[in-house]
Symmetry: C2
Subunit: 458 residues, 2 copies
């Protein structure tokens, strides 16, 4: 990290200096030496105005590199840089990059512009962009590159090598897919295998027909899971009739895995997927506020539970001191369970067949934690209040109840959301902390009300 | 997901039935048809005893497949299945899989057994396992496969193809690395490029010398970041003298990315990295309890702040009802900021050069959220208490203070941890929620104490 980071910081400084000096040729020279991924990082860190300036200079000279950098920057931020250009310009530039990346960018443009660009691209042969945008978001169809190189099953190994040598625009060859005359996917052969057999060997004889593939409507998370599980470098995408229509490569899968991981972290914390460290304050505010408002309402629900017992609190003010402890510890235990369950679902470790097992396990852990934490808590209360053991016992009982309930809720709520086909990570703060707050206050203050005559008043 | 999951469930059922019936030949037949990744999933879902039984049956017949399944299962769970076998057995089986996978497994065996296995492996030529374990955990050295195929720079393209054809144990060829006579890494050439040039072209002329590589001591996260950024399929690993010593492939990188993402989710929630849905309850309890105990202590610190104001609460019991709202909302806002900052660091978006910018931004968002949430909160208090506007104003002021502080703490604490070279995700619950609880109680109850004469008593 350190070295690469340092290098990028130096380049960033140079870019800014050259921009200020208006030294366009030097700037172009510097930018053109960078890898698209590094350029994207540089664009991301430049202030808005300088980012536009640098991009505009680069795109005039080296459209492909500029567009590749935009692909790396991500569709949303990339579209922002494109949005000031004419539809003709954007349509032309889109041809410089893979159709899947172009489709993602065009999709994020303001609607009018996006339509205009699509109009211009449509007539082109094999444009791809328009077709890709017809697939649902987050499916294999959206993610794939439609320019997939395929060999006819009637070729020999030698003919296949010649076909490969004359093919254009086949940047990376991972596997060679074999199709029949109607383009149905029938097999796969590795480049190395091709080299090992006599040139007149028919492909049919050396291809593997047991082949992993995804359908255009397969969810991108499932595609990622397949590629990761089976250590694939790429996976072919077929339509409903098993015709080969595209290819998803491992680098796209890595992006999906990273995005999904970020989404899990974000959702558990109540942050929307488009938020980030580089999002402008106004945008971040707009995206986080609704979530906090929901939180506020649920916090008031929990507060109303406290309100039910204000008579008891009025008599024993120490309850107000310790009630956040019971509620908070339930929240912490629930967060632990939630993290394990949500990640278990995301990684495919938690399935329907072991869900019951997981519930029992988490319940036991919750109970065990409740007893241990409750005991320590009781002792601490006893110390802090100089000998008030009834209050300590009530806290312990409430802890046990609340941490057990927290564990059960932390398991069932994400599983329930999954049944409802809602992302389990959305279970997050809102549901769980309301749950544990309500149960924490209810059990602690409820028990205190029942046993109030054992508590020192005042 | 659905289809694959369903298929695995069916196979799992069959495995259990065949085990019960003692139908070993049929069981072997079924197991041997599975992909190692699917076998790993099946092993993971079987109860302990059946897992051992199934593994033992498979390993006797097909050692390689059994060991590959263990690699997919992960070193910890894999070592558990191996631990009952003799050192000789394990040493022999280790040769069946890649040295990096074997090293990871052996490293997780009980110490005595692990030493015995290493003794047995050591004498073998190019054993690799022993050497790999000498590298630090989570570095490129640990992750790499030392069996890397390299070509001498003095070869021609034709000779290179012949070398490739006669090479053994080169399962996947990603890139062909070129080395000088002392095995210094000097270039790379793609397989496709080799096919496109006349056979007598010297490798030196067609290789790219501008090559991405990792050093044995590079952190695995950094390796993952490079491979992901530059869309590589593999990255060569060199020692301090730039000699080629190994290769890290994209499938290993995917595992690193998934592990690091899980770690982020877990750490934010206070769960240790070895915990999971399939961890036995006793283990999970042992791992989560210390974290909860730390939480308990910090919760008592926050409670002691409430204790400071028990006199005020005694006079205005409504404060007890609303104080968890102020503390909780600060916690929620801090969690949002924390998620964005931690993920920003993990994805490399947050760097030293934009840290100040990020702090200002998050501070502004915290302030904005505080004003908006505080306003709504004040109105809600006014409604709930039927017209107590001074209490509402105090709640609003406390909200603004607390959510601003929450945003600043949510940014500075993970950055501070990073300076101290501690994983920023460890910032999690403990520091942040203590912070927001203390500040929430302090600002709300403090303001209430100052303005207590405006509040309705009782």
């Amino acid at each position: 990290m350190a070295a690469q980071q340092h290098r990028n910081d130096l380049i960033l400084e140079s870019v800014r200096r050259l921009l200020r000096m208006g030294a366009t040729p030097n700037l172009l020279n510097l930018l053109q030496k960078q890898h698209p991924a590094d350029l994207a990082q540089i664009f991301a860190e430049l202030p808005d105005r300088e980012r536009h300036a640098a991009f505009n200079i680069l795109v005039e000279r080296n459209g492909r590199l500029a567009m590749e950098a935009l692909s790396e920057l991500g569709p949303e931020k990339g579209a922002e840089l494109l949005a000031l250009r004419s539809a003709e310009d954007i349509a032309r530039l889109s041809q410089e990059i893979a159709s899947d990346d172009a489709a993602a960018l065009v999709d994020q443009l303001p609607e009018e512009l996006s339509t205009a660009v699509l109009e211009l691209i449509r007539p082109k042969p094999g444009g791809g962009v328009t077709e890709l945008l017809e697939y649902e978001e987050q499916t294999a169809g959206r993610l794939m590159n439609p320019n997939v190189f395929a060999l006819s099953e009637d070729l020999t190994a030698g003919e296949a090598i010649t076909a490969l040598q004359t093919a254009r625009d086949v940047e990376m060859v991972f596997y060679l897919y074999v199709v029949d005359e109607r383009r149905h996917l029938v097999g796969v052969v590795s480049l190395r295998r091709l080299l090992l057999v006599p040139p007149d060997t028919p492909l049919k004889r050396i291809m593997t027909s047991d082949i992993y593939s995804a359908r255009v409507d397969t969810d991108q998370e499932e595609v990622a899971r397949q590629v990761a599980s089976y250590n694939l470098l790429a996976i072919p995408v077929v339509d409903a009739e098993n015709k080969l229509v595209g290819l998803i490569t491992v680098d796209d899968v890595i992006d999906v895995i990273k995005d999904e991981a970020t989404e899990d972290v974000y959702r558990l914390a109540g942050v929307s997927r488009d938020d980030g460290i580089l999002t402008p304050p106004k945008e971040s505010l707009r995206r986080r506020l609704p979530w906090l408002l929901v939180n506020l309402l649920t916090a008031f629900i929990a507060a109303s539970v406290v309100g039910l017992f204000s008579h008891t609190i009025d008599r024993v003010v120490a309850l107000a001191v310790f009630m956040p402890v019971v509620a908070g510890m339930g929240g912490n235990a629930a967060t632990q369970t939630l993290a394990v369950v949500v990640r278990g679902i995301a990684l495919g470790e938690l399935t329907w067949s072991n869900a019951r097992h997981a519930l029992i396990k988490e319940g036991l852990v919750g109970l065990g934690n409740g007893v241990a934490i409750g005991l320590v808590g009781a002792v601490l209360v006893w110390v802090v209040t100089r000998g008030d053991w009834p209050l300590g016992l009530i806290l312990m009982a409430a802890m046990i109840i609340n941490m057990f309930v927290a564990a059960i809720a932390g398991t069932l709520i994400p599983l329930g959301l999954r049944v409802l086909k809602i992302d389990p990570a959305l279970a997050s703060s809102v549901f769980i902390t309301t749950f544990t707050d309500v149960f924490g206050f209810l059990s602690f203050l409820g028990l205190a009300t029942i046993f109030v005559r054992f508590l020192p008043q005042g």
